[in-house]
Symmetry: C2
Subunit: 239 residues, 2 copies
DNA sequence: AAGTCGATAATTGTCGACAATTATACTTAA
DNA sequence: TTAAGTATAATTGTCGACAATTATCGACTT
């Protein structure tokens, strides 16, 4: 499963290819979050020169997957709870606006296509009832379509080109295949309705609530996990 | 006048310095919008190697001031009306949310400091009544403080690190020292009040209206200018 | 005369080496 | 034993050259 973002163009140069591999490695956690990056080591591993590697690193920095300090080096970004919440706040703002713009700017064909997609997902959903499939692919499909429907290059670039890599990273690392599938589906359905009605204000509000709900869901889950770990620690000490 | 963004750190490496110079050159229009960038030529001009120049170009790309195509080269972004409107839509979303977060997260000291700043600006404003100063420096000061007050690294990076360079570029190129100084001041004042009241919802709404008003103002001005030019053309043909 | 194909020139991508800076480990003194 | 200072090693920044790709110009065909 790749789930590449829809704005990306074919990787022609070797730096492009290495960038994609590194991106995958970081998102999937093969390169640990927060770990230091050794340019000579990585260059050797991918059999490329440091110049080419640095080109790839620059693109990783562009989508906020690594951080660089002058004369010190690069690190993979680390996944913190605060970072995750900040990311979702930003996402709420951007995707909410994208949804409003989609309601204003989507062509009728695009709207129809989205509705088709949703009914198709409904079939899949009924079929394998609540399986993570919808959450993974269907969810991303939906959100990408809305974002692209905004017809706003700035929004599209910021969300698809930058934020979503980080979101995927957090999803992988925190193991977030949250069991909101059926509820999310209903929310998606209402959002599409608002877009079809060309009701930008409602569309934005619904999208923001949709994302906020997702954020709160995660927040709950994580705080519970932390509580669980604390519990384990205490039991470990007792025994 | 530099009006550097408040998040930037000192430029230590030569690539950093060249980046800053290029950034300035692009924003101020010394390098024409839409023009092609010749790496050998620029490298020679700044007396640096192409590697170093490319490092600088990568940072310019990060703040969306240039665009690169593989095996073809870089161009300065061009300033279109559509691009400007898309930028302001995005800004409305991000800065609106930043303002909401500022209402929630700013310390009392930060709020007090902003209020001080505003009264000081009020003095300046009374002094030189309506002069562009407020529009230039005061306006940016205000917006930066709100954004930083959100205490959201993601928002801060996106707005200050990326969007604002473009905004400054558009301001320069389209000659936008709009005569909204006094009205903008009142709007700023109300926004600070909402922040001081910790009313996130109102703060966001006011900031969004503030930016939307600015956008509409520009929209009007530009369409008028275009109409004017058409008029001139017609007269030219007649004569 | 217009358009297409091919050779040449120019530009971008990639490479390996050196310079400058930072991190590490060891020695020395308190 | 701890701390500071210094010398060494490793890493990042910068450079110039070569390879690969693209753009330009001219010849040739229709």
């Amino acid at each position: 499963m790749l789930l590449q973002n829809p704005t990306k163009q074919a990787a022609v140069t070797t730096a492009d290819k290495v960038f994609e591999q590194l991106q995958f490695a970081i998102v999937e956690g093969e390169m640990a979050a927060g770990s230091k990056i050794s340019e000579p080591e990585l260059a050797k591993h991918y059999q490329i020169s440091r110049s080419t590697l640095r080109e790839a690193l620059n693109r990783l920095e562009k989508c906020h997957l690594i951080e660089r300090k002058a004369n010190v080096g690069s690190r993979v970004v680390d996944c913190t709870i605060e970072g995750l919440l900040e990311l979702y706040i930003t996402r709420e703002a951007l995707e909410g606006m994208a949804c409003r713009q989609a309601a204003l700017n989507m062509t009728d064909e695009e709207v129809a296509h989205m509705q088709d997609m949703l009914t198709q997902h409904a079939g899949d959903k009924a079929l394998q009832d609540g399986v993570a499939y919808y959450q993974e692919k269907g969810d991303l499909d939906f959100h990408y379509k809305v974002i692209l429907g905004s017809h706003n290059k700035q929004l599209i670039e910021l969300i698809c080109g930058q934020l979503y890599h980080l979101i995927r990273m957090y999803r992988c690392q925190f193991g977030m295949n949250s069991p909101r599938a059926s509820r999310a589906f209903d929310e998606h359905s209402r959002i599409i309705q608002a877009i079809a009605d060309r009701d930008g204000e409602l569309a934005e509000m619904l999208m923001r609530r949709h994302i906020a709900a997702s954020r709160k869901n995660i927040e709950n889950k994580i705080t519970k996990e932390i509580a669980q770990k604390e519990q384990n620690k205490i039991q470990l000490i007792k025994s």
